[in-house]
């Protein structure tokens, strides 16, 4: 695998984490292509075989945490700036840790990547949540720069141990 590409992708994810943790959400939104699909399924415990983890995840036509395009993502971002989006007023403090980055496929146009995330959120006096999971992205080069064309976020928890997901994972 091309070491320069690997480093570029790592840098891209670190930049993304910096924008999210620095609450520069409008800039963060620019990291996505205009045709992005931002998808986060819910999950259930099943009697599936160990390698059939995807059986736990909701599919298109079922429920989800996120099923956004650029416009509905934008509305989420703009809402946070409105000052009465109470879930984020006062705002959450997040720390995104991105690791285990794997380049799964590169066809010259789009690059499939997998990575793990650990997001630590604190807010107000005592709010404290840990979100752990994996991201499966399709990256595309637009005018030379990497952009996220598709993101699937898979949370490890089945029952969410948090009052909401008012941040971006």
């Amino acid at each position: 695998m091309n070491r320069d590409l690997r480093r570029e992708i790592e840098d891209f994810y670190y930049l993304e984490a910096e924008l999210l943790d620095g609450r520069k959400l409008r800039e963060w939104l620019e990291l996505f292509t205009d045709d992005v699909h931002y998808w986060m399924p819910i999950r259930h415990n099943t009697f599936a075989r160990p390698e059939e983890l995807c059986e736990e995840l909701s599919k298109p036509g079922e429920s989800y945490y996120f099923n956004d395009d650029k416009e509905t993502l934008r509305l989420r971002v703009e809402r946070v700036y409105s000052k009465t989006a109470w879930a984020e007023m006062p705002p959450s403090r997040t720390r995104h840790f991105i690791s285990n980055i794997r380049i799964k496929q590169d066809n010259g146009v789009e690059i499939d990547t997998h990575s793990n995330f650990l997001v630590y959120r604190t807010r107000m006096e005592k709010d404290r949540d840990v979100f752990v999971g994996t991201r499966q992205d399709v990256l595309r080069r637009v005018n030379g720069a990497l952009k996220i064309a598709r993101r699937t976020i898979i949370l490890d928890q089945a029952v969410l141990d948090a009052k909401n997901i008012s941040i971006f994972l």
Binding site: M40, I42, H44, N45, T46, F47, S58, P60, G61, E62, S63, Y64, Y65, F66, N67, D68, T72, L75, R76, E78, R79, S82, K83, T84, A85, W86, A87, A158, V159, L160, D161, A162, K163, N164, I165, S166
Partner: protein, 429 residues
């Protein structure tokens, strides 16, 4: 404890202890959650023989399981032998569930089918050691409820006038509805804070959800909002809802739709919808939110139903489903689910803003000083009465009529020894 003294409808005061007191909570589990009809799931979640899904009745884990003849049953999720949980999956299909501890196995009609080394038990009567069933299980238009109390009235009698309003969500099209979900999440708030909020709190929308409206995301059409008429309705038996009244120049089942695609869909099918629901329910009202006592809430406009499972006096686990018309096209179903979950779910741009309110209301109920000061439920409303032929008792939309009705029924249920004392007399129409 004198429960009725906690609720003072005359002066509109409620003792905060109801939101955090352990003794009251234990009484709720016993008097409400082992007696009332509780929501388990939707028939579309268990369509085939052997299908099961996990559920809760209060804090009791149960398995909703369809047997090979197609009959639905619900059983405590515990092995009769030592009490180990017999099913650890949230959903699936099984003719047989085997306990992981000693291997006792139960068939999908709840019967004990197999006991390893059964001879060593000296004549164990397997008939007597089946899974513990609920007392009764019944469905209303796809919604499956159960009760642990054999003395409970029928589900239809229990729902009373609320069933008439539930039809507006459940019975619009031939074939009924289907559910997707549930979202499940845990919130450090008393379950009643949510039941009360969904049951009639139109008052909080502007302050709590102003940010969504600012961006043009809403739960109903702009015409309906501009017309801005509505009412609270108390159906009896603690069931309450708040409803919009239709703007007359745009009367039809489409008028409250917050999404263009759904508006067109309703226009396309308005004849069928009106033939099923009748004029009042199809053209004159549009319920927004309500609560089926004790802990099932419904948001008609965005098609979500949810259960506020009690998890202690200061904690609940929310299970939430999106409900769509079965007869709709896949694209329309997707649009309905999106309208629902973009607004109401852990990521929902409406719902995420509710949580801190309920958490802090619960927190206040733990404060020694705050408990000296009752909570205010004195909003009596000043809108003119609605002149429509509605079921139940209508009141001003911006009032605490429904909330007090809920808490009076709650207090009555906590103290009542029998269903004769609990059940309200049916509404005469």
């Amino acid at each position: 404890m004198d429960i009725k003294s906690l609720i003072d409808p005359e002066s509109g005061l409620i003792d905060r202890r109801i939101f955090a007191d352990r003794e009251i909570y234990d009484l709720e589990l016993r008097q409400i959650f082992t007696r009332c009809w509780l929501y388990l799931g939707h028939e579309s979640e268990v369509p085939n023989p052997g299908d099961f899904t996990a559920a809760y009745m209060g804090e009791e884990p149960v398995i909703l399981w369809r047997d090979l003849s197609g009959r639905l049953g619900a059983y405590l999720n515990l092995c009769r032998h030592r009490g180990n949980q017999v099913c650890r999956a949230d959903r699936g299909n099984a003719k047989l569930l085997t306990c992981s501890y000693h291997g006792w196995s139960y068939t999908c009609d709840g019967k004990l089918a197999l006991v390893p080394m059964v001879d060593a038990f000296g004549g164990l009567d397997r008939e007597k050691w089946g899974l513990i069933p609920v007392a009764r299980i019944e469905s209303y238009k796809g919604l499956i409820f159960a009760t642990f109390d054999p003395q409970a009235p029928t589900l239809l009698k229990y729902l009373g006038d609320m069933a008439w309003y539930l039809d507006i969500l459940l019975d619009r099209r031939d074939g009924g509805t289907e559910a997707s979900g549930p979202h499940r999440w845990v919130v450090e708030a008393n379950w009643k804070t949510a039941a009360e909020n969904f049951g009639g709190d139109g008052y909080h929308i502007t302050a709590t959800h102003g940010s969504a409206r600012e961006l043009g995301i809403d739960t109903t059409s702009s015409k309906t909002r501009q017309w801005n008429k509505g009412c609270q309705i108390a159906c009896g038996n603690g069931h309450i809802l708040v409803s919009w009244i239709t703007p007359p120049d745009d009367a039809g089942p489409w008028f409250a739709q917050p999404d263009e695609r759904l508006l067109l869909y309703m226009k396309e099918h308005c004849a069928e919808i009106e033939s099923r629901l009748g004029r009042v329910r199809a053209r004159q009202i549009a319920p927004s939110a309500g609560t089926v006592f004790p802990n099932l809430s419904v948001h008609w406009l965005t098609r979500t139903i949810r259960v506020w499972h009690p998890r202690g006096p200061d904690k609940m686990e929310i299970w939430s489903w999106a409900i769509v018309d079965k007869a709709a096209s896949p694209k329309i179903k997707d649009a309905m689910r999106f309208v629902s979950q973009y607004r109401f779910s852990p990521t929902g741009v409406f719902e995420q803003d509710d949580m801190d309110n309920w958490i802090h209301v619960t927190g206040a109920a733990k404060s020694l000083i705050a408990k000296r000061y009752p909570a205010n439920y004195q909003m009596s409303g000043n809108e003119p009465p609605v002149a429509l032929d509605l079921r139940g008792q209508a009141a001003s939309r911006f009032s605490d009529h429904n909330q007090l009705n809920l808490y009076m029924h709650w207090a009555k249920t906590l103290e009542a020894r029998s269903w004769d004392e609990i059940t309200d007399k049916p509404h005469e129409s």
